[in-house]
């Protein structure tokens, strides 16, 4: 247990002190700032309803969280392998599964830091509007599920690929595939195929939950199905990560 805790501590300290970990937070802050400035500087966007602005901001936050999960997850094993540090980690008494779990906790902590960074932006764009307070727990829940899914998938991929680049390219493709139906717009998603794709797509599930809560002011009962789908995907991803990392080659 103490070895596992030391691994978790190592991951967290790398997040907070190493340049490659902390620069992601700076970039995330700059992206959120750029979007906020865009909202006030554009005449049409500045007339947007507060709830709509909060929803758009939430969409950016969960996608940033997923992107950080893919980058950090891809770096998890493949990056250590490339830097030649995986061997020393595998020499510790911790199992490779422990290593994967420690890395997953590190990524979840990154998401929590990003969530804390994004809260002032949400207040800035939505404090005079509706549903800001109810948005916070839903954003945290849906974001955590998405980060769990993408981080587990990327870590699992990273444990089997030789280089960080190849793990990252597959991870980013997965993220794009999951995110692309959402770009199609609501009218194209009204058909039965569109609705089915929305139901099985975790990114669409997260965004639909946020839309339903922030814009339509719908209660928890309407969110049960998309949240259950997200939970299902999270459990499956965790199971895959657990199975795949049982044996990791150098």
């Amino acid at each position: 247990m103490s070895t596992f805790m030391s691994l978790v501590r190592k991951e967290i300290s790398e997040d907070l002190t190493a340049t490659r970990g902390s620069i992601l937070f700076l970039i995330a802050g700059m992206v959120l700032s750029a979007f906020s400035v865009l909202l006030v500087s554009n005449t049409e966007l500045s007339l947007l309803d507060n709830a709509q602005a909060v929803y758009m901001m939430c969409g950016i936050i969960v996608m940033l969280g997923s992107l950080i999960a893919v980058i950090r997850g891809s770096d998890g094993f493949a990056g250590e392998r490339e830097r030649g540090t995986l061997e020393s980690l595998m020499l510790t008494p911790a199992t490779t599964q422990n290593l994967a779990h420690a890395k997953l906790i590190g990524i979840l902590l990154s998401w929590m830091i990003l969530f804390c960074i994004s809260t002032p932006y949400l207040w800035a764009v939505g404090s005079t509007g509706q549903n800001l307070l109810s948005t916070i727990p839903y954003l945290f829940t849906t974001g955590t599920f998405l980060v769990l899914i993408f981080a587990s998938a990327s870590l699992a991929l990273s444990s089997k690929t030789r280089t960080f680049k190849s793990a990252l390219s597959v991870g980013l493709t997965l993220l794009l595939l999951a995110g692309s139906p959402v770009v199609l717009g609501p009218s194209l998603r009204q058909s039965s195929v569109g609705r089915l794709m929305d139901l099985v797509n975790p990114v669409a599930g997260a965004l639909n939950t946020l839309d339903s809560t922030i814009i339509d002011s719908q209660g928890l009962i309407f969110q049960v199905l998309p949240l259950a789908v997200l939970l299902g995907y999270s459990l499956i991803s965790l199971f895959i990560l657990h199975s795949v990392t049982r044996r990791v080659e150098l």
Binding site: L26, L32, L47
Partner: protein
């Protein structure tokens, strides 16, 4: 001859009677048995307001009406970009079912709406009687929603500029403390 004329007159009278009866029955079937009106809230409307439109449905027929469905329709009347508006985002309830409306009875419904976009709009109330082919629509009421900037730069800019600077400052502090420790 007289007898023959009497028969012709009788047949003519019966035919005319049947035709008149059919005509009046058809007119009764086509004339609306519902009077429908929509009342707009007083004062000017601007983005973010939640005015309440009051819709009234009155049974002016002789028969009770069952299963009447009443709904609002909103149309953007912006010149060159006229289109129907999905009321889902405007938080207005989509339709109301009136189980039964007795002759002379009036049903009043309040339709609250959150105005989320500026522009010129038209709104109408429609009642659908399952027994009739034609829906009954109120007069189109047009109204203007004036724009209101909802996002304030005085609130956003301090966060948008301050937060990256704060993160940068924290990163600098961490880096300096690491160098000193080393």
């Amino acid at each position: 001859m007289k007898w023959h004329s009497f028969h012709v007159a009788l047949i003519f009278a019966i035919t005319a009677g049947i035709l008149l009866a059919c005509e009046s029955a058809s007119m009764a079937a086509q004339s609306p048995s519902v009077e429908i009106s929509l009342e707009r809230p007083t004062g000017t409307m601007k983005m973010g307001d939640t005015p309440v439109f009051v819709g009234t449905v009155k049974n002016i027929g002789r028969q009770p009406l069952k299963g009447l469905v009443v709904y609002l329709s909103l149309v953007s009347l912006k010149s060159g970009d006229e289109h129907p508006v999905d009321l889902e985002d405007w938080s207005a309830q989509k339709a109301v079912r009136i189980d039964q409306l007795l002759p002379g009875e009036t049903n009043t419904q309040k339709w609250g709406m959150r105005l989320i976009q500026s522009g010129k709009y038209g709104i109408a109330l429609t009642a659908v009687d399952p027994q009739r082919k034609q829906p009954i629509v109120s007069d189109l009421m047009s109204f203007e929603i004036s724009p209101k900037p909802t996002l304030s730069s005085s609130r956003i800019l301090p966060v948008a500029i301050g937060e990256p600077l704060l993160i940068l400052l924290l990163l600098g502090v961490v880096r300096i403390s690491r160098i000193r420790t080393a």
